[in-house]
């Protein structure tokens, strides 16, 4: 990669990616619903610390199922999911397609939720809450109720809630799919900035090629019927990525590769 020659404090590219310590591994994971709905078949994935992984694939290919398995909401029919680092309360966060805020609670109380579940008092974590709200640019709205916010702002609150505990792993299931494109681009940019700041690992589900290329360094392409991984692509462009990346030739080339992979996945899933 041309960018590899650039002077940079840390090694970049595939080598750097492989040298990171493992965070979580999925080995031969199957998930069968009922008798014969094979939502996921033989999924293998090593998540490394600092990864930004996109799960890219048509609808029904088991992306959400994979996230639900990792978040322990459902259990694999076969195979194993193993945390390679210690999993403590607050190590894992999720962001769903809907902002999923509690309508009866203020923005601040919504962001407080993960800590509340740990039995912490609001006073002891108020600075973390303020920091998370500042990170998403909503520090002025701490006392607002969700209904007073726009769709994009609600999603920001949802992201602040996911980041407030500085989790080791954040799972995001098509968080921006319901937003308009301008808001989505803005949130994409901000998300990368936030991820750098809290130095977390992200698994991001999307069915947008452009989003996956812009955000991630690893794109896991999946096909449906049965849900499975068919290919993994790497995007070696170093972070921080800016708007310039969106208009670069590299970006276009990555998008073409990812598009082809997705097209292939759709054909397989027919």
């Amino acid at each position: 990669m041309a960018d590899g020659s650039e002077a940079s404090p840390a090694p970049v590219g595939e080598d750097a990616m492989l040298s990171r310590p493992k965070l979580l591994s999925m080995s031969h994971v199957d998930k069968i619903f009922g008798r014969d709905v094979v939502a996921l078949k033989d999924m293998n994935l090593d998540v490394r610390v600092g990864d930004f992984i996109s799960l890219l694939g048509p609808s029904g290919c088991g992306k959400s199922t994979a996230l639900r398995l990792i978040s322990d909401l459902i259990h694999p029919t076969g195979g194993r999911i193993k945390w390679e680092v210690e999993k403590e309360p607050g190590s894992l966060s999720v962001v769903l397609q809907e902002p999923t805020l509690m309508p009866w609670a203020t923005v601040e109380d919504n962001v407080f939720l993960p800590f509340r579940m740990q039995g912490k008092s609001k006073r002891s974590v108020i600075s973390d809450i303020e920091e998370a709200l500042a990170l998403v640019g909503l520090e002025k709205f701490h006392g607002a109720y969700p209904r007073e916010l726009s769709g994009g702002m609600k999603m920001r609150v949802s992201i602040a809630r996911a980041m407030v505990t500085h989790p080791k792993l954040i799972l995001m299931d098509e968080p921006f799919a319901a937003l308009d494109e301008i808001t989505r681009f803005k949130l994409n940019n901000d998300l990368l900035a936030m991820k750098e700041k809290i130095a977390s690992t992200v698994i991001f589900v999307t069915h947008s090629v452009f989003e996956s290329v812009f955000l991630s360094d690893r794109i896991v392409v999946m096909a449906a019927r049965p849900g499975r991984v068919i290919e993994e692509l790497t995007v070696t462009e170093p972070y921080p990525r800016t708007e310039d990346f969106r208009t670069s030739a590299d970006y276009a080339a990555h998008c073409r590769r990812a598009s082809d992979a997705l097209k292939h996945a759709m054909e397989l899933g027919q």
Binding site: S71, L73, M102, P103, W104, L113, M117, Q118
Partner: protein
């Protein structure tokens, strides 16, 4: 600058959307109408009532005029207000137990499907059996008249709270449930921070119905209980007045019962509005 200022009123006038104006007018009219129209109906009704009695020279033991009813209300105020207090005490007591019992049972039901399956049918049976059919039994087994009345009123009132709250506790958003699970919420935390708030609007809906029902329960139970001595409520006063053909007093007592019901409903509606106005759809004002 001055030119613009001079122009301002004209542009401001132009800027007002005629549709917007019409809506504002409609809203205002509706608000006034909400109070004025029912008041007008009352005034007209009382007037017609008075005329009918006067023109037909109806004797007061058949239909007393409104003036006589007011007179009875004032003359018998000592007795009627005591009875009103008794009825109110039973009503409030029954409503209170209905809230505690209804919410308590609902919470128990949502903690265990087995408990719900076992007991919900009996809650329904208790609800669908007319209270007048159960009440005589209750007064046979319960010596204390006040306790008997409370039990009757409670049976009538608790079901809407139980069924609404159960529904509300189970209607918490699925994604939020998942979120609570991911964050490792305990059963208690899930109840306290997710299910109870989700159930609040449903509970308040049930509460408004239960408020009226506990008054009905209190009145019906007293009819069934019959003779009352000095601690008798308004229902007993109506019975007693009917034996003595004291029709004005019957009307006066009836008026008090109706007023009590309206006030209970108004208070509970206000409570509901105040507790939901910050976040719930039902309490939001929307342009239509």
């Amino acid at each position: 600058m001055t030119a613009i200022e001079q122009d301002a009123p004209a542009t401001a006038d132009l800027a007002v959307d005629p549709e917007e104006l019409a809506r504002a007018r409609r809203n205002r009219n509706e608000k006034i109408g909400q109070w004025v129209l029912p008041a007008l109906v009352v005034i007209v009704t009382i007037f017609v009532w008075d005329r009918i009695v006067a023109v037909n020279e109806l004797p007061h033991y058949i239909l007393p005029g409104p003036g006589l009813v007011v007179e009875a209300l004032i003359e018998d105020w000592g007795m009627l207000s005591d009875s009103l207090l008794v009825t109110l005490r039973i009503t409030m007591g029954a409503l209170f137990i209905a809230i505690v019992g209804g919410v308590g049972l609902a919470v128990l039901f949502t903690q265990s499907r087995w408990v719900e399956m076992s007991f919900f049918p009996y809650a329904v049976i208790l609800q669908v059996t007319p209270i007048v059919a159960i009440a005589p039994l209750i007064f046979i087994y319960v010596d204390n008249r006040m306790v008997g009345l409370l039990i009757c009123a409670w049976i009538v009132a608790f079901f809407p709270i139980l069924s609404n709250t159960t529904l509300g506790l189970n209607s918490a958003d699925h994604n939020l449930r998942d979120l609570f699970k991911v964050y490792g919420a305990t059963r208690w935390q899930k109840l306290r921070y997710l299910q109870l708030p989700s159930a609040l609007p449903y509970f308040l809906g049930g509460l408004r119905i239960a408020g009226g029902l506990s008054l009905i329960g209190a009145v019906v139970a007293e009819y069934v209980a019959g003779t009352g001595g000095n601690a008798s409520g308004l229902a007993f006063r109506i019975l007693e007045a009917s034996y003595r053909l004291n029709i004005p007093r019957m009307f006066a007592a009836l008026l008090l019962i109706a007023l009590t019901g309206v006030i209970i409903f108004a208070i509970l509606s206000l409570v509901s509005h105040l507790s939901l106005r910050k976040w719930h759809e039902s309490a939001l004002k929307r342009e239509t």
